[in-house]
């Protein structure tokens, strides 16, 4: 069968040829080789300079994330974490299955695997967002300037819902990375891997924000505006549908303080939305209205607040929030006395806790209390979407490497 190749250049090619090329033994590439780092830095520059890309804040964030200085920092981090008695090597061929609707994940996923010296096959959905097509174009442009072995080390392809291609690539790869939710994971898992190969899965996740009511009260108007802007980025960049975007906002503190903080917080968000003249399509408003009604009937909702772009459903207690979400700016709000009250109500599905006003010791204690059963990430409000090598409980740099243990005789 023919597959559509999007990177290194636009063409169609027989599936067997693509798999054969990817599986061919290539000269090994060291993790963080200069050539790879240079290429990634150049790709970052290409994104920064592009007119069309500048319209998408998430592309600027991506370019910033893979700028030269950051890559050099990452290399130093990688070297520090590699024990002296081991030699790190790439795993080989990484097969990435990114989500259809978050335009930038496929680049982050590829980047960490490429930096560690792996070859990559990335399967793109045919229904991609415009920003993804911009990235593919810029990728091709950067590759045209790069060394041929760089160009050969990654293939981005698209083939609709064809089992045959997924099966062939799964058998050929050393690591399979599945983004995109429970159903995708379940479907892709029916395609077997080689015995030695491993898999990283990123199933459906949900995230929340926690605000310290007392510290929030201490903020002046400018501070509240700033926080609202950061929260806006977390929630609205991907229509609140990114797994790390907050759906629940928890105000921690005594009843009166929490009520005041909550009211001021949502007012500040409304102002921020007004200022940005943020406007969702009509269908989103309708979806949020239907979802609100369903939530009122199924959950302990005590209050409904509708600013058209931000619907807030105040809950009496947490723990029964549904798996599905309307997206588009609908939040559950709740009060807790203390962050520890989250421990019994969160579970393995909860990924990111964005926080404001808590100190490091408190957050670390909370992480220990979760004990790996919930929350893989705690970052300040504003950084929910900032990608990191630590994601969903994995250290991706580590996951993309093999470590040869090498003990020297006395």
């Amino acid at each position: 069968m023919e597959v559509e190749i999007l990177v290194p250049e636009l063409r169609s090619a027989p599936l067997e040829d693509v798999v054969a090329e990817l599986s061919a033994r290539a000269a090994p590439v060291d993790p963080f080789s200069d050539r790879v780092v240079e290429f990634c830095a150049d790709f970052s520059q290409t994104i920064f300079r592009d007119r069309e890309a500048s319209r998408y804040p998430e592309l600027a964030a991506l370019a910033f994330w893979m700028r030269k200085a950051e890559l050099v920092r990452l290399r130093a981090e990688f070297e520090r974490m590699t024990p002296p008695q081991t030699v790190a090597a790439p795993r080989g061929l990484v097969f990435h299955i990114p989500p259809a609707n978050v335009d930038t994940i496929f680049v982050y996923s590829w980047l960490l695997a490429a930096l560690t010296g792996n070859r990559n096959a990335i399967r793109m959905s045919s229904r991609r967002a415009p920003a993804a097509d911009i990235l593919l174009r810029l990728w091709r442009e950067s590759l045209a300037r790069a060394a041929p072995e760089i160009a050969r080390s990654a293939v981005v392809l698209s083939y609709g819902h064809d089992e045959e291609a997924t099966r062939a690539l799964s058998l050929a790869c050393d690591v399979r990375v599945i983004w995109g939710g429970d159903r995708t994971v379940a479907t892709i898992r029916t395609a077997p891997l080689a015995p030695h190969a491993r898999e990283l899965t990123f199933p459906d996740r949900a995230s929340l924000a926690a605000i310290h009511a007392g510290r929030y009260a201490e903020l002046d108007a400018a501070g509240r505006r700033k926080l609202a802007g950061q929260f806006f980025n977390d929630a609205y960049w991907f229509d609140q549908m990114a797994c790390s975007s907050p759906r629940v906002v928890v105000f921690a503190g005594a009843a009166e303080a929490a009520t005041q903080a909550s009211a001021a917080f949502w007012d500040a968000l409304t102002e921020c939305l007004d200022e940005k003249q943020f406007a969702s399509p009509a269908a989103i408003h309708m979806r949020k209205l239907v979802y609100s009604c369903q939530a009122i009937l199924e959950l302990p909702v005590v209050e409904y607040r509708r600013d058209p772009e931000a619907t807030v459903l105040q809950l009496e207690s947490l723990g029964r929030e549904p798996r599905e979400h309307s997206g588009g700016g609908l939040f559950f709000a709740a009060r807790v006395d203390n962050l520890r009250d989250l421990v019994p109500v969160l579970n393995r599905r909860h990924q990111t806790l964005t926080h404001f006003g808590f100190d490091g010791a408190e957050l670390r204690r909370l992480a220990a209390a979760f004990g790996g059963r919930a929350i893989d990430r705690m970052v300040p409000v504003g950084q929910a979407l900032q990608f990191s090598r630590f994601w969903d409980g994995y250290d991706l740099l580590h996951e993309f490497c093999r470590f040869t243990y090498c003990e020297v005789g006395r």
């Binding site: 609707n101 939710g181 009122i296």
Partner: protein
Amino acid sequence: MTVAELLQAAPYSIPQAEKEAILVEQLGALTEHHRRECAEYDRLVRILYGGSGPAARLADIPFLPVGLFKSHALRSIPESAIFKTLRSSGTTGQEPSQIVLDRETAQRQTLALSRIMTHVLGARRLPMLLIETPSLIKDRRQISARAAGLLGMMNFGRDHAYALNDAMELDGDAVRGFLERFGGQPFLMFGFTFVAWQYFLMKLAGQKVDLSNGTLIHSGGWKKLQEQAVSPQELRRRFLAETGLARIYNFYGMVEQVGSVFLEGEDGYLYPPAFADVIVRDPVTLEELPHGQTGILQVLSVLPTSYPGHSLLTEDLGVVRAVDSPACGRFGKAFSTLGRLPRAELRGCSDVIAASARI
């Protein structure tokens, strides 16, 4: 005026201001009725609206989004009083709405439809050509919304004949046979808009079939015809040119609201009957829009007592064109529908299709 009197009144005879005064009172009473009889509805009104007081204007009557009935079959009657449950056809992949009727609401629905149809058809049953395939209603246990619509309309005709065969092809012999018997006198035709265009008119074109004594009633939305760039005007023009048919009435209605049967007037606009009305709302603020502006249609009807569906926000776009301008002898609002709200693709990591998100 009581609900019974509203149903007996000539459907388009009440000037808007007078009609609104009656509806505000009746619909307000229905809000209280459903709050008493349906705990879920009461909870929704308390939380979404902070309760309900006496409404001053029609726009003050609380409304629910029609999509809620896909996940929740709300009812204001005990289970033992359920007479039948209606299911919407729904778009592919979506759950159908479930509407619970008791005997009284079902009877009023039949009466309401009849009041409206006799307004254009007269009191006598006419010979009826169904622009449908007979297989649609062969299995009476599994009735789709389309079949239910057809069965409801069949009551207004006699000597029924089907214009299409089981394969949805034009049954030329049946049509000719029907017209030979009844074509010289007034007769009735009914079909879904797209079917009437695609499987009937397009196949009849150029065959010199005379439908000039007929009245066509059609319904079901313009979505598929919009895709082919066929406007309501074009449909009328082509029927007239090809068959001499001039009496064409579209109607807009939905399973979710008993009594909301909005029939087209001779001017091509839709008219709410005495016991129902429409409001156009801004899709973002949900405030009522001035006449002439396009927004989301809210439909109101005093007939649903068995379930809290007397005031529903649809997902259809519409615009009020005129009020009390009896160019075709009708009082009240004259409005047009402009199709469904365009669907919105959300982004996100998950493969859960957000459009189907429900709890």
